[in-house]
């Protein structure tokens, strides 16, 4: 057991630091100053800002760290990925964009796609020249993905797809989507789905913003009305779609960036508590310390999971466990941030007297989606219990 880094890893760290030292100052002022106004998270401006920064990272060789070199990635070790996340979080700079493409769609194509698909799609994903989104959830298929109702009927070399997806994250700026379609209506639920790559600009695809309780519309509903998808856009075989999708969902990020992000959040909250004159309140101190401790639990347990991976062991319960816990951490943290503000917590962005231009209020509201969007807390606990702890299904 050793919590220190090798020389090679430290050299990589230095490379990142040098780069950051040079480029961080190019970031807009509002990124660093929580008192300043920032663009809406669902705005074109914010999206373009993300792409601009992404391309800088790409040029520096910091995108697709974990992707094999043959696909344009860096082929970095897990530890190098940790080092990168650490430095990015410590510098408090933005991460990459096109995260669904790089984190989920690309790896799925690498694992299950054809040579053609790899050639066509991987490079533009990395460069964020094509933005990807995910089309799994439907109104009647939330936690229960196998209940997917979107229908696909074969018509020569094409599939005619009709149906509706919800919670398409960033759908309005997306060029492509991974898509789950029911192609074998007679087969058992889990065996009747097929996995496709969908051109979001194809005729018949309509994207409608889905406004969240924050007031923003990060997500979309996607309607497909007789959309034609060429058979070359099928991933794996007919009827295997559910299993491909389950594979996709396993490509979870290590969560190390998020862990260090939590330390930043606690630091920001401490600053805010000081400004509100609350940092000496013993109750505030207890909760703040608890959040900090919990953040470290997620961080070090995440690193342990990584270690197991690194040594070729299957991840223990500690990996899934932390996903639910980390999401709930956000909710506790932002609720607490609101509490610190007292009556000021009621004020939103653009209001006079709003603390830090209402960013805590936004985070408070946004965080309620965290325990729903990538699998509910309840489903995650089922998985921990059944897969991690080996408890029987009923």
């Amino acid at each position: 057991m050793d919590f220190s880094y090798s020389e090679k890893e430290e050299a990589f760290r230095q490379e990142i630091r040098d780069w950051l030292a040079k480029h961080t100052k190019e970031l807009p002022k509002w990124w660093f100053d929580r008192k300043l106004k920032r663009p809406d998270s669902d705005s074109r401006e914010y999206h373009d800002f993300g792409i601009w920064w992404h391309k800088k990272l790409y040029d520096a060789g910091f995108v697709g760290l974990n992707w094999p070199k043959e696909y344009g990635g860096r082929g970095a070790t897990l530890i190098e990925q940790v080092v990168f996340s650490e430095e990015m979080a410590r510098a408090q700079v933005p991460g990459i964009t096109n995260t669904i493409g790089i984190g989920w769609c690309g790896p799925t194509i690498m694992a299950f796609g054809t040579e053609e698909q790899k050639k066509r799609f991987l490079q533009p994903i990395l460069k964020a020249d094509e933005i990807w989104c995910q089309g799994f959830s439907e109104p009647e298929a939330g936690s229960d993905l196998a209940n997917c109702q979107t229908k696909g009927v074969q018509d020569g070399d094409y599939w005619i797809v009709n149906g509706q997806k919800v919670w398409t994250s960033g759908g309005h700026y997306s060029d492509w989507s991974i898509l789950l379609v029911r192609t074998e209506p007679e087969a058992p639920k889990h065996r009747g789905l097929t996995f496709f790559l969908l051109d979001m600009h194809a005729p018949g695809v309509t994207v409608r913003p889905l406004r969240q309780m924050t007031g923003a519309a990060e997500f979309n509903e996607t309607f497909m009305d007789n959309v034609r998808i060429h058979k070359s856009m099928m991933v794996s075989e007919r009827g295997r779609g559910f299993y491909v999708a389950m594979g996709t969902l396993e490509f979870e990020r290590s969560g190390i960036g998020a862990a260090i992000g939590r330390e930043n959040t606690v630091q920001d909250m401490i600053e805010m508590a000081k400004e509100m004159g609350k940092s000496k309140d013993p109750l505030v101190r207890q909760r703040m310390a608890q959040l900090y401790i919990e953040g470290n639990v997620v961080k070090y347990t995440g690193l342990r999971a990584l270690s197991r991976q690194l040594h070729g062991m299957t991840p223990g319960p500690e990996s899934g466990v932390m996903s639910a816990f980390g999401m709930e951490w956000n909710q506790r943290a932002y609720d607490f941030a609101m509490q610190i503000q007292g009556p000021y917590a009621r004020l939103m962005r653009d209001s006079k007297y709003a603390i830090d231009d209402g960013r805590w209020q936004h985070s408070f509201l946004r965080s309620r989606g965290n325990t729903i969007e990538t699998g509910t807390s309840e489903i995650k606990r089922n998985v921990i219990a059944q897969r991690g702890l080996g408890l029987p299904r009923e």
């Binding site: 959830s137 109104p139 009647e140 939330g142 936690s143 229960d144 209940n147 919800v166 919670w167 889905l210 406004r211 969240q212 309780m213 007031g215 109750l283 909710q331 609720d335 609101m338 509490q339 007292g342 009556p343 000021y344 917590a345 009621r346 004020l347 939103m348 962005r349 653009d350 209001s351 006079k352 007297y353 709003a354 209020q361 408070f364 509201l365 309620r368 989606g369 325990t371 729903i372 969007e373 509910t376 807390s377 309840e378 606990r381």
Partner: protein
Amino acid sequence: MNFELGEEQVMLKTSAREFLDKECQKKHVRAMMDDEKGYSPELWKKMAGLGWQGLAFPEQYGGVGSSFLDLVVLLEEMGRALVPGPFLATIVHTGRAILLAGSEQQKKEYLTRIANGDLVMTLALTEETGGIEAADINMKAKAADNHFIISGKKLFVPDAHIADSYVVVARTKGGVRKENGITLFLVDAKTKGIKVEMLKTMTGEKLCTVVFDNVSVPSANVLGTVDKGWPVVKQVLEEAIIAECAWMTGGARWVLETTIDYAKSRIQFGHPIGSFQAIQHKLANVAVEVEGCTSLTYYAAWTVTENDPNRTVAASMAKAWVSDSYKHATFEGVQIHGGIGFTWDHDMHLYFKRAKHGEIAFGDGDYHREKVAQLLKM
């Protein structure tokens, strides 16, 4: 002893529910979030027609003469419907203050007009500290002959932009004992030197800053006794707290019922999600909490009606419990609804935000637990 609603209370509750189901649908609530005024004067008039504004005022001032407990029954329904507008501000925060401390003439003048639906009022209490202790009141009112000159800034004043008149809490005397030297004033909103600015809130409810720049108020407009205003504020705060609890309890019960209904009908994995033990236990816990809201709120309201000495502790107990419970109910409400509960279009977030708003109003759970500890002589 009877812990159930009386027959008339049940009637009041039922008719209020019916009226609001019709007149205050969520469409209206949503429209008022973006509305400049933030309420519908027509609805206000209709409510006055039903006697709601005057429900708990004596008949000689145009009221119905019902008890505070009856008012709480009504407020619960209003909180359930999320009725937008200056009801709490007018009826409880200021109306009750006038009833408590006003001269006969003041009561006649103000309460009658409130009961008729002709007058909207609000309480200008909190300042930049946001606190509700005597020490938080620093706005100065200087005595001159036959009038006072008020200067300073009030923050988080609900509905000040539409109020015809304010009850302003100001300091008329310095000194170590902060509870001494506080005076209440009835101030016409149109008086020269008053500037109102609207703040933008999470719920769409209207909170304002009110700046007083050498505002002259006739001595006749003092409410109660000069320098002796704090005990009145304290009692009004207790009633405001209990009223807030009633409002919140109504909302919490909507959340519970709506979520139970959803859990019964939403199918995942071939079963209604309400048949899963995790959902059942979550809802059982929320039910415990909501029942507790009702119990403590009604008990507290009863202590006000009876002028029972336990009133202070009852109010703090209720607020501590209801603050946490309503919020928790909406947390679980969103979670159990899943994605749909996180959307703008579903009504859950209206309650979610109102719960947070209510948690903060008049002191959160921690604040009131500390109050309870003090009252337990710890």
